[in-house]
């Protein structure tokens, strides 16, 4: 199954811009389904981006992050071809990880 993480990392000069879109329901636990039962909270808590063995960005998320969450940031010190490792864990112990080459 394709990874739940879509990522685009493009380097221009020393700055690499990273965009990530993650397939995840991000349920708040405050919503009821059509039958009136509460949909339990199910959301990504931590999302980590590592490059060349160092954390370049760490996101701690709450229930207010949108469904299929999106995040964009940039960092210095990497170049085209370097590998970016992305991994997330959610409040139910679910997780996923993927790697992407910087274009």
């Amino acid at each position: 199954m394709a990874s739940s993480i879509r990522v685009r990392a493009t380097a221009n000069g020393d700055i690499t811009e990273v965009q990530a879109l993650i397939q995840h329901p991000m349920d708040t636990g405050l919503v009821k389904d059509s039958k009136g039962e509460v949909i339990p909270a199910h959301f990504i808590q931590q999302l980590k981006f590592e490059c060349n063995g160092k954390d370049v960005f760490v996101a701690d998320w709450g229930t207010a992050v949108s469904k299929d969450p999106y995040v964009k940031f940039s960092f210095k010190g990497a170049k085209k071809g370097d590998e970016l490792k992305i991994s997330w864990t959610d409040n139910k112990g679910g997780s996923d990880t993927t790697t992407a080459k910087i274009a």
């Binding site: 685009r8 965009q19 879109l21 397939q23 999106y70 964009k72």
Partner: protein
């Protein structure tokens, strides 16, 4: 309780009169003439919104409001329909149990043909939409049809729309009285008021595009289907044309017809034909 009914009737007749007065001067026509209708339809919007580029009408509410357009462009950087698009691509390539694929059902393998749908099927004597053709392809190959309002259908139509992006809408009306009748039936449905709200599609999308209905900006009717299927933040999911028609009906408190009912197929035929020449921009992201 009786007072409430009279209140309802008062508002109903007042609304009828109010909208009748403000609508464009019209004179009843008898012969169905799609070419003239389409020209008049497009000119109405081009004159009402002179500074909107013609091809931008397909961006719906975002062609009407700068603040909304900025939020849209922000979303389009990494659009929420990305997953549906990938899923559609995968489904399109996965063969059915009998080894065939969707490509075998469609001209040009289903790639870059969305702008020709819906078309008038002279054998059947009815309008055939892309969603209908996809389900018929599934059934012809021994597979169960998909729901018209759920994600699988949206993913397939998203991929097919994506392969036609930028191509001008190109709907044909054959010289067949049944085709002209279908076009006219679709036009009638578009302008007919329904539901306790007593709105027609035109009440919102012709009378007041660009204005707000609570938080949402109303899209112009011209090119309103060019971006289909759409990921709607409101549904936090994909929506096919069928889902959009059904939900619009219930918003005006009209009981929706079954998806792909003749009326829906005809109104899709009408709306697509009058948007001929405008580019396909699906799949789209909408509020």
């Amino acid at each position: 309780m009786k007072a409430r009914i009279h209140l309802l009737l008062g508002s109903l007749s007042a609304a009828l009169v109010a909208f009748a007065l403000t609508s464009p001067r019209v004179v009843a026509a008898d012969k169905v003439d799609p070419v003239t209708d389409a020209k008049a339809f497009q000119n109405f919007f081009f004159q009402k919104f002179p500074n909107v580029k013609h091809e931008d009408f397909v961006n719906g509410p975002y062609s009407m409001n700068e603040d909304m357009k900025r939020q849209w462009q922000e979303k389009e950087e990494f659009p929420p329909y990305e997953f549906a698009l990938d899923a559609g691509k995968e489904m399109f390539a996965t063969p059915f149990k009998n080894g065939k694929t969707y490509a075998d059902c469609f001209p040009n393998g289903g790639i870059g043909i969305r702008q020709n749908y819906p078309y008038f099927d002279e054998k059947e004597g009815k309008v055939v939409t892309l969603e209908l053709a996809l389900n018929r392809c599934r059934e012809a190959n021994g597979e169960a049809p998909y729901s018209y309002v759920k994600d699988e259908m949206a993913s397939l139509t998203a991929y097919m729309a994506y392969t036609s992006r930028g191509k001008p809408m190109d709907i044909k009306i054959p010289d067949d009285p049944r085709a002209l009748a279908a076009f006219e039936n679709g036009k009638r449905y578009f302008y007919t008021r329904r539901g306790q709200m007593n709105f027609s599609c035109a009440s919102c999308h012709v009378q007041s595009p660009g204005e707000r209905i609570r938080a949402e900006i109303l899209a112009p009717a011209l090119g309103i289907l060019n971006a289909m299927p759409i990921y709607r933040s409101e549904w936090s999911g994909m929506g096919t044309i069928s889902r959009r028609f059904v939900t619009c009906n219930s918003q005006t408190r009209a009981v929706p017809l079954e998806p792909q009912a003749d009326e829906y197929r005809d109104v899709e035929y009408f709306l697509s034909y009058v948007a001929n020449g405008l580019p396909i921009s699906g799949p789209g992201a909408r509020p």
